[in-house]
Amino acid sequence: MLKDITIGQFFPGNSFVHKLDPRFKIVFTIIFIVMLFVADSFAGLGIGIVFVLMAFLISKIPFAMMLKSLKPILSIIIFTSVLNILFIRTGDVVFKWAFLTITKQGLTTAAFMVIRIVALIIGTSLLTYTTSPIVLTDAIERLLSPLKKIKVPVHALAMMMTIALRFIPTLVEETDKIMSAQKARGADLESGNIIQRAKALVPILVPLFVSSFRRAEELALAMECRCYHGGDGRTRMKQLKCGYRDFVALFVLAGFMAVVIVFNVYGI
């Protein structure tokens, strides 16, 4: 069923990772990504992997979820590694057949890339697994709030993101319903060439747009009735507080970063 798709895939929990201040978590994720790109050896990447696995263990997110997060990018991983393997022709030749040349360097680079991408995905999905989309939006709004001074509509952008998150499942369900209804009138969505198929989407898209506009209008009215008047003077129920945890995590991460840099300097 279409409606089983969840966006953001948040897993509620009470772990150390869950309890971290989302602003810090975003910053940590950025530092972690930087760390992966700074590391120039397998040892350095290994440090990154150890860090993310440790965080995963602490978060008590089922291990299977980690694999699940990798599934959508499996094709990208295979594609980049094949490219690396086939097009890097320097170094010791391991295998040669016709115009195919596989070198040791090609294999190493491919492996290096794969590990880096995998670590990157696991790290960022850990952020979305342990932080609810709304908290994440909230954190982004606050991290970006200095931009308000240069007239960036940070609050409006965050509000838009929240509403999008709220309405994606509703609209997915609606699309499902409209598709069934048009199929019941004999609409053929599955056969024909590209132009015919694009044409067949009209009976789905028009009602979907019409209903989205209607929903938007009703939502705007409901928001107005609930005293919404933009971001000025707004308070939040959930206050973001950074505590000792965040600093503990920061120091741990800084430690890992230091090790990676040392590895780089000494060429380990």
Binding site: P133, I134, T162, L221, R226, M237
Partner: protein, 285 residues
């Protein structure tokens, strides 16, 4: 309170500027109505009779073209008081999906309070209390789209009562719900009126729901045509049907019997009263 909810000779038109010349559709035609604090009023009228338009006048969404509307003591034309009015005259709509803003139940209930700039601790307290009042406290961390229609509508009501309004206007809140959802929502509305003393204005198409109110107002063609206790309103079976409305089945039954010459009151609107009256009828015979 003076001028708690009051419309005086209110006229209101929707203007469609897309056409040339613009099409003017006058929906409210000099309507007069006053609702007192603590009342439970049901508003009936067929689609397009102007009842929703009237409701939106009371929380300053619609401003009258002519006449005056007062809400919780303020004239709705007074721009400085708009937020006071909206906070005290809450509104719940038909489609529960299109009035929930946040992705988590408790965040949604907090929405209005955040807009009002209430202190975080106070928001927490009021959100918990509102959710308990509508019986949705256990669902506070759920995503709204996973709830049933009746549950969503109760969350929407919680979002309104968290503002601690004096009055709640409900625009066909049960129209899109199944019988179970309808019962849940109605129970909540009655509880708010009886236990918390909130004034309720319920717009509905279900006559059984209107029969629960203290007072029923029938709107037709932008005018109030009947305004009385439900018993007196529904006993006018022919008049109700002539304006595209209905009466509860029990009322219609008694009315038919009366018409056939039997001694039955036509002011019967509940199942209990009807059973009692019919039983008496059999006993006598």
């Amino acid at each position: 309170m003076q001028n708690f909810l009051k419309a005086e000779r209110v006229r209101f038109s929707y203007v469609n500027n897309m056409e040339n010349p613009p099409v003017v559709n006058e929906v409210l035609k000099g309507i007069d109505i006053e609702i007192k604090k603590g009342e439970f009023v049901a508003v009936l009228g067929h689609n397009g009779s102007g009842k929703s338009t009237l409701a939106k006048c009371f929380n300053a969404i619609n401003l009258p073209d002519e006449g005056d509307v007062y809400a919780v003591g303020f004239n709705t034309k007074d721009e400085d008081k708009i937020l006071d009015i909206r906070q005290n005259v809450g509104m719940v709509f038909q489609n529960p999906d299109n009035q929930l803003v946040a992705t988590i139940v408790e965040e949604d209930v907090a929405f209005a309070l955040e807009n009002m700039g209430v202190e975080p601790k106070e928001i927490r307290r009021r959100v918990d209390e509102a959710l308990k009042t509508v019986g949705m406290y256990e669902y506070r961390e759920h995503a709204p789209h996973k709830l049933s229609g009746g549950q969503k509508q109760r969350v929407a009501i919680a979002g309104i009562i968290a503002m601690e309004p004096e009055c709640i206007l409900l625009d066909e809140p049960t129209a899109m719900l199944d019988p179970k959802g309808r019962r849940e929502v109605l129970k909540t509305i009655r509880k708010l009126n009886r236990e918390n003393g909130v004034t309720i204005v319920l717009i509905t198409h279900y006559m059984e729901e209107a029969a629960l109110a203290d007072r029923v107002v029938v709107v037709d063609k932008g005018q109030v045509i009947i305004d009385d206790v439900p018993e007196k309103v529904f006993s006018q079976v022919e008049k109700m049907k002539s304006v595209g409305l209905d009466v509860p089945q029990v009322t219609e039954l008694c009315w038919e019997l009366k018409k056939a010459g039997f001694d039955v009151s036509t002011e019967i609107i509940s199942e209990d009263e009807c059973v009692e009256a019919l039983y008496k009828l059999f006993d006598k015979g």
